[in-house]
């Protein structure tokens, strides 16, 4: 099977309003229909349809040998996905929470990531590991982490994080079609609505957001391409996942003309879009929910400094979670919310 079909024109496709879960479910359904080699597995994903319902209905439709529950062993889940890939399948394992991925790390880091390299292309690991990540649901330290930087640091793994239903579907399809192992982190806080960081105000459902209009049928969004959420001139915002919505809300509240970039793929990074924007605005704000030290923001900051130094008019601002485990009761004090982001914006605007 090849995936070099002509791109589908989305302008003509009819759309449906979907939340993030429904969009992911739709992508899995479509790929299972298109490609008999796609299999979906993970803890509780079969009959139950996943603890977040992302795989609801798939087992009934595609059968038990293509959508099935697994033993509680992340090491086993990733390990068998490597073996299935070696046979020629295209496994889409789910790790129930990103916080639970660590027992599978050896199979990901030492095996899946290097299979192509060490066998000189004889074997590949075309798997997409889906996993809900991030906080904001009072999940405490074992249901809230954002470990994306652990994976961006490993050569041979692609890391993708969608921020809207529209992107989640197109990016997941592209990830499944990709012949390299992809970590697909789903920001669980925005599964049901585009949370904007103002936790004390009501959350709007996806239905009221433009990007919940999801085209019917097959389409893919290429990995490695960022999306300009809002063009602007005052400064560049680099964000992904939940923080795209939080940063956008704070910029709107402050009435600043920011250019907001949703990176969508961290590796490979769309460096061209980043460079072009920072060269235009001369200022850069990086936002992520993960801990600060050696977070992906550090990489972004280094790249912007190396490549855009002579265009910079202010120090790069980096807004992140704190370097502590994710606390339970002080969740909103931990979360990089409007106050933390707002102050960084003020510093950039004054510079």
């Amino acid at each position: 099977m090849t995936y070099e079909e002509s791109p589908v024109s989305l302008a003509e496709a009819s759309t449906r309003r979907l939340n993030m879960i429904e969009a992911i479910n739709d992508a899995l359904d479509i790929m299972m229909e298109r490609d008999p080699n796609v299999v979906v597995m993970g803890e509780d994903v079969g009959y139950f349809g996943g603890v977040f319902r992302a795989t609801a209905g798939l087992q009934k439709k595609h059968g038990k040998t293509r959508v099935f529950d697994t033993p509680i062993s992340e090491c086993g889940i990733i390990g068998v996905a490597v073996g299935m890939g070696a046979y020629g399948l295209r496994p889409v394992p789910e790790i129930q929470f990103a916080d639970y991925i660590y027992p599978g790390l050896d199979q990901l880091v030492s095996e899946a990531a290097r299979l192509r390299y060490r066998s000189a292309g004889e074997f590949i690991a075309p798997m997409t590991v889906r996993s809900p990540f991030g906080g904001g649901i009072f999940g405490g330290q074992t249901h809230s982490q954002s470990p994306e930087a652990l994976f961006t640091h490993v050569s041979g793994i692609k890391t993708v994080i969608p921020s809207t239903p529209h992107d989640a579907k197109g990016l997941l399809i592209a990830a499944i079609e990709d012949n390299d192992p992809v970590i697909f982190f789903e920001p669980k806080r925005i599964y049901n609505g585009p949370f904007n960081g103002y936790y004390d105000k009501p959350v709007e459902p996806w239905a009221k957001h433009a990007d919940s209009a999801v085209p019917e049928g097959y389409y893919s969004i290429p990995l490695g391409k960022a999306r300009i959420v809002r063009p602007g001139n005052a400064f560049t915002v680099l964000a992904y996942g939940t923080m795209v919505h939080v940063a956008a809300a704070v910029c709107a509240e402050k009435g600043v003309d920011a250019e907001i970039i949703d990176l969508r793929t961290l590796v490979p990074l769309d460096i061209e879009t980043v460079e072009k924007s920072v060269e235009k605005t001369g200022k850069c704000l990086i936002v992520h929910e993960a801990t600060r030290t050696c977070g992906f923001g550090a990489e972004l900051s280094a790249l912007v400094q190396e490549r855009c130094f002579y265009h910079l008019e202010a120090p790069i601002e980096r807004v992140t979670g704190f370097d502590t485990p994710y606390p339970h009761s002080l969740e909103w004090a931990y979360f990089p919310g409007p106050v933390r982001i707002g102050e960084a914006i003020d510093r950039l605007m004054k510079a």
Partner: protein, 431 residues
């Protein structure tokens, strides 16, 4: 594409078929447990505590039972506990259930974010806690609140933890029910699965290295025996003959996955011991006397340097996995009613009544008293706040205990957090 030839049978060979386990009953199904082999109480042999591990092999496929259909204790495993001890056991299990019911309601009322009940499984934590020495170290999973209650840990402290309030000894950091109670020899609960298993072995090895007399015990659900940690623990325990007791609480369900997804279609969980050369016992987990006797046997064995034991507690998770779960989506509601091993509290109650040491009236009075006790503790804890109502630990505590000493970057971040609070609530003062 790399890999082998993709699909298609070759020659006259039959096509291979993947087996995916399927539970017997789904929502709406009538439930019939006649396929389960339930041996009569008292029929299981009781080998010497210091026997060779291989002598327990038959017990890995049997079911140690003490309380018979007539509610009398029978057979070599009868621990012959006096009536006061039996009443204490009953009371502790009933308190655990009353506590669970109240905390579950509290979560539904928005007083906290999350709760997990152990309904139907009370015997698997209360009876072992009573059979162990109070300073034997336990490494629990997340459904062993009965151990803390059994060891007399104040339930007010448990509620403070569940509410993540300003009196929570864990400073509001952990998800509700992820207790830590060093003074009760109760290890901090992780939230990640099976990690406690090798840790219990390490504690037991340390106790042996130091020539101590204390042993370790650990708990896991049958579903989590699939994790590598379980198997690492088993290997280390037998290599070093560590003084440790492994409890596998087989409550049939791991969220929506039945025990078949952990291997139960092929063998028992107690039988996992055989391959490692470890003693194993399979116990009626709803029979508190059998659970007590098995734990006592394993504890005596460990304490006499005769080695570790794996105990499978065959029981049933009567409620959902947690407050985030809806078991009506994936299993038949009749399973709980039809469960052939009954309810542990009711069985012990009937036993005490049959031997003339208890009555329905006394039981009803006890239930009322326990309900009042939990209610009073709840009121007491609520003075210290409930989740999300402002009475939490001061912001700077979020940065403490990451390291022993606060490094510069956490000091800066701590100041930032407090600063942000002042921006959001200018009238606020740090307590």
């Amino acid at each position: 594409m790399s890999g082998g030839t993709n699909g298609g049978a070759r020659g006259n060979l039959p096509p291979l078929a993947l087996h995916v386990p399927e539970p017997k009953f789904r929502p709406g199904d009538e439930v019939d447990y006649s396929h389960l082999e339930i041996p009569p109480a008292g029929a299981q042999a009781r080998p010497d505590e210091q026997c060779a591990a291989a002598e327990t092999q038959a017990l890995c496929f049997d079911l140690v039972r003490v309380l018979g259909e007539d509610h009398r204790a029978i057979g070599p495993w009868d621990p012959k506990l006096d009536a006061d001890t039996l009443r204490r056991m009953l009371r502790t299990m009933a308190l655990t259930r009353a506590f669970d019911d109240r905390m579950y309601r509290g979560q539904r009322q928005g007083k906290t974010s999350f709760y997990m009940k152990c309904t139907g499984e009370e015997a698997t934590s209360v009876a072992p806690a009573m059979a162990l020495a109070s300073d034997d170290m336990v490494f629990p999973s997340y459904r062993q609140q009965g151990i803390l209650i059994s060891r007399g840990y104040p339930i007010v402290e448990m509620i403070n933890q569940i509410y993540s309030n300003r009196a929570d000894k864990l400073k509001g950091r952990q998800l509700p029910i992820m207790y830590s109670a060093r003074e009760a020899s109760f290890f901090t609960i992780s939230g990640n699965l099976a990690t406690q298993y090798p840790q219990a072995v390490g504690w037991a090895m340390a106790s042996a290295i130091k020539g101590d007399t204390r042993i370790a015990a650990t708990w896991i659900g049958e579903g989590s025996t699939a994790e590598g940690d379980f198997h690492s623990a088993m290997t280390f325990a037998t290599v070093y003959n560590a003084p440790v007791i492994f409890n596998v609480v087989n409550n049939q369900w791991a969220i929506s996955s039945f025990s078949g997804f952990a291997g139960a279609e092929r063998t028992t969980f107690a039988a996992r011991a055989i391959g490692y050369g470890m003693a194993g016992l399979r116990v009626d987990g709803n029979d508190p006397l059998a659970v007590y006797a098995a734990t006592k046997w394993a504890a005596d064995r460990a304490r006499s340097n005769a080695g570790p034991t794996l105990i499978e507690h065959f029981t049933y998770r009567a409620e959902g996995h947690s407050t985030s779960d809806d078991p009506g989506q994936y299993r038949s509601a009749h399973e709980r009613e039809e469960w052939p091993l009954g309810d542990p509290i009711n069985r012990l109650k009937q036993h005490l009544i049959v031997i003339g040491e208890w009555s329905e009236d006394q039981h009803a009075a006890m239930d009322r008293e326990l309900m009042e006790q939990v209610k009073a503790a709840t009121k007491e804890a609520e003075k210290n706040g409930i989740l999300g109502h402002g009475l939490h630990h001061p912001f700077h505590t979020m940065f403490e205990d990451v390291f022993e000493e606060l490094p510069w970057h956490l000091k800066e971040q701590s100041e930032q957090a407090i600063h942000e609070r002042r921006v959001k609530w200018p009238e606020w003062k740090e307590a």
